[in-house]
């Protein structure tokens, strides 16, 4: 435990606990060795140990006593402080009774220890929840605290909310980008780890859009602000994270409802246990003692705290990897997700064209060079992909003629290059080799002789196969929806490995398809829709869980979805699935474990096998173990990952 991580109040409590524990140990050992009851003889012999233990009791428990008095005045009978006080004061009273009636002097240590351990447990709970909160608020570090607003030649340091769209701001190296905008001057590298979990810096240059919350690393940038602060990415994300715990899971609701009945029920049982057997056997002190143990076990907080703590840790762990989950309920539901519906373009595929095949491969350089010459002036996506694949500068001096619906011809002196589709080849009588791959084919001919063809298609993302494979391996159904024609859809679906696909869908058909799938799935299963969040808001809303990819750029996506992958990387889905699984396993363990231990201890105390020491374990021990278990949620999910503290720049 680092001293710096404790609050003032916690430090004070820690000192109090340590002192009380030391004093208690001293008195306890002294009692065992010299028997304090024997120090003074006579009927008042009990007073000496009583005073020692009472002093420690008051040091450690004065606040609990005070709260008990105050809360009972408000009519809070089932208040934890009150129950603890009744139990411990009752134990003291029993011990005094024993002393007065001349029986052996014992039981003071127990009364004192119960409250001492209760306080230790409370301290630990406080520490654990505080630490967990801090790990989330470290994420909140993305909140920018100022913006450097440019007014004429001077630069003014203002609050980000005072900057308006259209203003120019200056972002110095080491500073957070306070608002979304477009770079108007300068080039630099940005660290987006706090937003996306991506550890590699991103190079940005003039004209590019940058999002708030990232950190400028190397050089000064001038940025034209495109959105007001409340509309910027950073505000949307903070709002989302802060609201996340309002959406409660079923497990949380179950445990609070359970606690609502549990405490009164156990207290009633305690009352019965004291009175009924007491009347029958008239061995009042034994049965009252057992009833007091019941009161100790009846405290509900241990039970209640571990569940929200687990979910909180799960949401926190996910956010470290750039996965934002909008509520505990979605984490719970996501664990039951069995059907994954993917949009094709931009989700499974890159959403941009690229050259996938050049044939014959031996002529690759030459084919691409000729095509690049012909496509030199074109801005068509196909032309762009050819040019970017060629890389070098295309030779100039050609006269380019666009032949509508067929392609382009480029002429320089005797040399004529034809570049286009089959029709172009056929019309010019070129004997070409047909390319049968799925996608757009560009044929290239030079001086009437066929040179080769280029196949251009939208490619799968690098991680698509791996992620679909993992989801299929978990027994999930993976479905691809697309507006593309059957041939393209079939080929992409086969390559990606999805279990089913639907082609030629209009945007409104996608909602219908999702509704069909919703009707098909099992009652307890959930359906996820994964899209880029731009055109699929209705589908995201209709599905049980809407997942938007690449949220760092789009606030519309953040709004419409339930889980946001800040980084445009499908692996976030299988990662989130693992986090959800682990969280739910731990939640389940905690519920079963806490309730089972409490019930067992209740039974043992009722039968007289368990004393108050065991009872206090039933309250504090269980809480500590459940909390430690909950903290396991926040562990490493990627092998070999460096456990970097969330980014804290400035």
């Amino acid at each position: 435990m680092k001293g710096t991580s404790l609050s003032k109040k916690q430090k004070k409590n820690l000192v109090r606990i340590v002192c009380a524990l030391a004093a208690f140990a001293a008195v306890f050992v002294a009692d065992k060795i010299v028997y304090l009851g024997g120090v003074f003889s006579g009927p008042a012999a009990w007073v000496f140990p009583f005073c020692l233990y009472l002093a420690i009791y008051l040091v450690i428990g004065y606040d609990v006593l005070w709260r008990a008095v105050r809360n009972i005045a408000h009519g809070q009978v089932f208040d934890e402080n009150f129950l603890m006080c009744v139990a411990t004061l009752g134990a003291f009273a029993l011990a005094i009774y024993r002393g007065v009636t001349g029986q052996s002097i014992e039981g003071f240590d127990e009364a004192c220890a119960v409250l001492l351990f209760y306080q230790i447990g409370e301290f630990f709970q406080d520490y654990a929840t505080g630490k967990s909160r801090k790990s989330i608020s470290a994420l909140m570090d993305i909140r920018p605290d100022h913006a450097n607003l440019k007014r004429g030649d001077s630069i003014e340091r203002v609050d980000p909310s005072e900057v308006h769209a259209g203003d120019i701001i200056v972002v110095n190296p080491g500073e957070k980008v306070p608002l979304d905008g477009v770079i108007v001057k300068g080039a630099s590298a940005l660290d987006t780890r706090a937003l996306t979990g991506e550890s590699l810096p991103r190079d940005v240059a003039q004209g590019q859009e940058i999002v708030s919350g990232s950190v400028n690393l190397t050089r000064q940038l001038e940025v034209r602000v495109s959105k007001e602060f409340y509309d910027s990415t950073v505000s949307k994300i903070l709002e989302l994270v802060e609201n996340a715990s309002e959406q409660k899971s079923k497990a949380e609701n179950f445990i609070t409802r359970f606690a609502k009945y549990y405490t009164p029920a156990v207290c009633a049982a305690a009352l019965l246990l004291a009175v009924v057997p007491g009347l029958i056997t008239s061995d009042w002190s034994a049965w009252i003692y057992r009833a007091l143990s019941f009161l100790v076990v009846s405290c509900p907080c241990a039970l209640v705290i571990s569940i929200p703590l687990s979910f909180f840790a799960g949401i926190g762990a996910a956010s470290r990897y750039g996965i934002l989950i909008k509520g505990s309920n979605y984490l719970e539901k996501f664990d039951r997700a069995k059907t994954f519906v993917f949009d094709k373009t931009g989700t499974l595929t890159r959403g941009s064209f690229s050259v996938v095949k050049v044939s014959p491969e031996a002529n690759r350089e030459e084919i691409l060079r000729l095509a690049a010459i012909a496509e030199r002036d074109s801005d068509h996506p196909i032309a762009k992909s050819v040019k970017s694949c060629y890389g070098g500068a295309a030779g100039g001096g050609y006269t380019l003629t666009n032949i509508a619906g067929e392609g382009i011809s480029a002429a320089k002196g005797e040399e004529v290059i034809l570049c286009g589709n089959e029709k172009l080849m056929e019309r010019n009588g070129v004997a070409y080799e047909r390319e049968t791959g799925v996608g757009t084919v560009v044929y290239v001919a030079k001086n009437g002789k066929f040179v080769g063809s280029i196949l251009i298609a939208d490619q799968l993302k690098a991680e698509t196969k791996e992620v679909i494979g993992q989801l299929n391996g978990m027994g999930c159904k993976t479905v691809m929806l697309t507006g593309d024609n059957e041939a393209i859809a079939e080929s992409v679906a086969r390559e990606a490995g999805v279990t089913a696909y639907k082609a030629s869908l209009l945007p409104q058909n996608k909602v219908e398809e999702v509704e069909k799938l919703l009707a098909e799935k099992g009652k307890k299963e959930a359906l996820c829709f994964v899209g880029d969040g731009i055109n699929d808001a209705p589908v995201l809303m209709r599905s049980d869980i809407g997942i938007a990819m690449g949220g760092a750029g789009s606030d519309a996506a953040i709004e419409a979805s339930d889980i946001v992958l800040m980084k445009d990387d499908l692996r976030g889905i299988s990662l989130a699935k693992r986090i959800a699984r682990k969280t739910m396993t731990i939640v389940f363990e905690n519920i079963v474990f806490s309730i089972a231990v409490k019930v067992i201890i209740l039974i043992l105390s009722a039968l007289g096998f368990a004393n108050m020491w065991v009872a206090v374990f039933g309250d504090v021990g269980v809480a500590v173990i459940a909390i430690l278990n909950a903290m396991r949620v926040n562990s490493r999910y990627i092998k070999g990952e460096k456990r970097a503290e969330p980014l804290s720049a400035q």
């Binding site: 709260r67 105050r70 809360n71 408000h74 009519g75 809070q76 934890e80 409370e122 406080d126 929840t129 967990s132 909160r133 989330i136 802060e242 609201n243 996340a244 715990s245 309002e246 959406q247 409660k248 609070t256 606690a259 609502k260 509900p300 907080c301 209640v304 705290i305 929200p308 703590l309 979910f311 909180f312």
Partner: protein, 72 residues
């Protein structure tokens, strides 16, 4: 109207649940969610009487957990 308030010194998870139940019962409150972990209360209530409702919310919370303060 929906508003979110920060809660200070909300130290016990069960108290948060009790406070939530107490506030939910108040007249004029449409919905309320208290998050122990985030130390926040999101409350949706009749806009016209919001301040008056918040007075009663505060009172109800004080009764359950006097240490906890609603930051308004």
């Amino acid at each position: 109207m929906k508003k979110v308030f920060k809660l200070e010194d909300l130290d016990c998870a069960n108290c948060a649940a009790k406070m939530e139940r107490a506030v939910a019962r108040l007249d004029g409150v449409t919905s309320v969610s208290i998050s122990f972990m985030a130390q926040r209360m999101a409350i949706e209530a009749d806009e016209a009487r919001f301040d008056e409702i918040m007075e009663r919310v505060e009172k109800a919370c004080r009764k359950v957990e006097p240490d906890c303060r609603i930051l308004r």
